[in-house]
Amino acid sequence: MSIWQYANPARFMRTTEGVLPWLVGGAVICCVTGLVWGFLTPDDFRQGSTVKIVFLHVPAAMMAINIWVMMLVASLIWIIRRHHVSALAAKAAAPIGAVMTVIALATGAIWGQPMWGSWWEWDPRLTSFLILFLFYVGYIALWSAVEDPDSAADLTGVLCLVGSVFALLSRYAVLFCNQGLHQGASLSVQSGERMSHVYRYPLYLAMLGFFLMFLALVLIRTRTEIRRRRLAALQAREMRA
């Protein structure tokens, strides 16, 4: 048993078929419970009811970054070991990541308007998220521009590697041009508790729900991509016959 056996598309399809309903169910339960529970929490003494948007904002922002990391790992696996499922998973994850980035930016703007009195500030965190979004857009555009699927996987893989370095570099470079307005991390493993239990548990649940939702979506999309490749192969065979 090793993880590499899932590089076999047939095996991947069979396994994910069984796992998917559980993932979808878990995602729905966690998201709904987390968000409803989050909505029923008492108002914050300083931020009032606006604090409730945190249950959308934080999980989306967390996923936006982690999806890029997942794409980086998948691209590396493709470049090093040439497993097609890996490349297709990276392709499938990119639009989800882009949407998560948009959700994080949009909820941030809606939250920032009453709190900071402005929809948008050139704060380091906001700026680096905007740059991350640009990287997502470029990545998706490159996938759709290259016709040959293997070349597309190679080129986007290289772009993902270079883009990761520069996304990280930009994240710290923007600290140089403007100091932040965004609050620091309220949830942190090292610094202990800074957030009340009342908000922490529904937030954990919403984060788990977003994670499961991403897993379910990326599996569904990867399955679609595999089917599309099979279809293309069948059509090519028919053309030749």
Partner: protein
């Protein structure tokens, strides 16, 4: 390598090579900004470092698709790929040629355009220094973008979409150096960062660009 450099430079300077177009674009941009924001010195002087750096960035972007596209069309890129010179070396030389034809003229002309935008005279050394250190990174990153999009029919727009986010750190530090120069502050810290980025880009990006070229020539 030197033969390749000379060939690229000669191609760029002959008719239709587009030598100097970047500077002309830079001049037009510097002339358009005062129309857009008003010719007031108090408005122009603070934004001049940023305008000059964004202008240099866009001027650099204009000629990027020429790095590989023409060679790809007439097949000389395939010859380069099978030549004894490693493809990484060829990429580096072509980026250097792009810098000599685009970046270097920008560096030399920048003080003049700084004058147009009321950049304080004491910022001129910082402006020239930051451009001289930063533009090689722009050319090399551009060569990477051009290598990725070389086989595509409508690569131009995609090229700018891919390359511009990569320019962000260079732009931040370059504009910061110039702004600090204008205010008479010490420029050492951002200059070190910018030089670090440029050196890392020069060392590592040829590998990525050559890998992308090999995929596109497959």
């Amino acid at each position: 390598m030197i033969a390749l450099l000379v060939r690229d430079l000669r191609l760029a300077t002959r008719a239709g090579g587009g030598f100097g177009l970047g500077v002309a674009f830079f001049l037009i941009l510097s002339a358009l900004v005062p129309f857009g924001v008003g010719p007031d010195r108090a408005v122009l002087a603070p934004i001049a470092p940023g305008i000059l750096w964004v202008g240099a960035l866009l001027a650099c972007l204009l000629s990027l698709d020429r790095i590989f596209a023409l060679d790809h069309e007439d097949g000389s890129l395939d010859l380069l790929a099978i030549a004894p010179l490693p493809l990484e070396g060829a990429v580096a030389v072509k980026a250097l040629a792009h810098w000599v034809t685009t970046g270097l003229p920008l560096v030399l002309a920048a003080p003049l355009f700084g004058l147009l935008l009321h950049l304080p005279p004491r910022a001129m050394p910082a402006l020239v220094l930051s451009l001289a250190v930063g533009t090689p990174a722009l050319s090399m990153l551009g060569a990477f973008g051009a290598a990725i999009t070389v086989g595509l029919r409508r690569g131009g727009l995609l090229l700018s979409l891919l390359v511009l986010p990569l320019y962000v750190p260079t732009l931040i530090f370059g504009a910061e150096i110039t702004r600090r120069g204008a205010e008479g502050l010490a420029i050492a810290t951002p200059l070190v960062f910018l030089a670090g980025i440029t050196l890392a880009v020069l060392a590592l990006i040829p590998l990525a660009a050559a890998a992308a070229l090999r995929v596109n020539l497959r």
